[in-house]
Symmetry: C2
Subunit: 304 residues, 2 copies
Amino acid sequence: MHPFEVTILGCSSATPTSSRNPTAQILNHCERYFLIDCGEATQIQLRKFKFKMQRIDHIFISHLHGDHYLGLPGLLSTMHLLGREKELHIYSPPGLQEIINVGHYHSKTFLKYKTVFHVLEEGSRGIIFEDEKLTVETIPMNHRIPCCGFLFREKKYLRNIIKEKIEEYSIPVQEIPHIKEGKDLITSSGKTISNTELTTDPPEPRSYAYCSDTIYNESYIDQIMNVDLIYHESTFTSEMIDRAKETYHCTAKEAGMIAQKSNVKKMIIGHFSARYRDLSPLLSEAKECFSNTVLAEEGETYAV
Amino acid sequence: MHPFEVTILGCSSATPTSSRNPTAQILNHCERYFLIDCGEATQIQLRKFKFKMQRIDHIFISHLHGDHYLGLPGLLSTMHLLGREKELHIYSPPGLQEIINVGHYHSKTFLKYKTVFHVLEEGSRGIIFEDEKLTVETIPMNHRIPCCGFLFREKKYLRNIIKEKIEEYSIPVQEIPHIKEGKDLITSSGKTISNTELTTDPPEPRSYAYCSDTIYNESYIDQIMNVDLIYHESTFTSEMIDRAKETYHCTAKEAGMIAQKSNVKKMIIGHFSARYRDLSPLLSEAKECFSNTVLAEEGETYAV
């Protein structure tokens, strides 16, 4: 199986604590690296956990609260100073380009590489990135300002051709792609060999959903139904439900309810309020609704 | 003596390294805290070294290169979230307020406290802060964009009155401030008692000069003449003199020349290029010109 895994770089909400950084995570799919949110000190975290920042070509920013993007100007500058020439794609709600440009104007900075800003429309579900292996869709969140999550889905794998069958039926090279796509073989003598005899089932495509920040709402459950791994914000315990509502955040219990209703396989909870030094109450609460829950831990890598 | 000391929070130049953060330092004068520059992750460094960020009422930003201010938006936000109500004064070249405002506009942030932006004119020397104990002056630097250093000077101390003399001459309470200022005493019988009999010399006022970033130039030597402690940028070794000139920075040797020519008592060098893992070549080079030089070290506190 190709690698498909996410590493948490920061899992604190609004303010960093002595042990937790603001939100950022890096997704590795087949050695392509996607950065999701970029809180202050993300470049320092990337360095600490030994990720090569120049391998990142796509950055997804969920929304423009500082704890989700304030590390971006420094990261862009460091990429520039280290000699980057490759294009960089940045996806976010409206405004980020203006923020970056104002800083560059005053510092007289002209990046050596091209940045392409993709503006995400509020409330829309849509594919914002696609290549031969993966799609990325926005998941509309309900927060105080325009905000969206991101759903990374592998495309269907081709079927695995059984090597011995290539020899047995002298399959011509040009037929192999068609067989991998599921077609039967017609031999030179006109006989039809069923695809099921020639191939084995490919692995199931995997999916990862990043859901932060949002007040509890069930609008995206159908979209993330059955995903393999979900990261869900879980800012407060249920005691703080009023504060959660007021600030458009979720409790751990609510995150558990989302995971349970959307029938995901596994959930990481994160975006913890700085008030919690001990995170076990958040974990227990989420687990009451959805047992396969783990706490986000900085530097930790989770397979999708 | 009142405390007067500076703690280094970050001493890297343009990019952070695995062991050094972008520029920031905190000056404690009589338990009043002044922040000088505020590179990315300054709020994290303040927390790490156990400084109470709400005690900072004045922030001085030398210039608008990201490594000197990108920690400011996050720090302002954290001060707000922790309930700050006190006014905060921010001194910088033009543009910083616009940068902060654009971020707040897109995050719909309305700080609970008042921020007062003081715009520093390029190339001017002037007192930008003054209270009963201290003045802060700008030191014009020569960098790629408008930039200034900061000179913190204690005001003259009052003379120390000798307690026994108060009783001996039955000095009235209302006369004491005058005597501390250096006046003689005229007793009720009309006799003049010389001030030198009543008082001892106060401590000498101390001074600290922050000089970063700048290309080598001697224009500010007269201004920092005889200061007790100077922090001077020292981005490169002399081998890299061309790069230093091109980027408007100093070598360690040049920092040493400035310290020597301005007859300062002690120098901290900092703002090290990320290329130096071992800083001892920078130290040796500066010491050749000015022996009382030390390397900036994060978390270390230096008495003025």
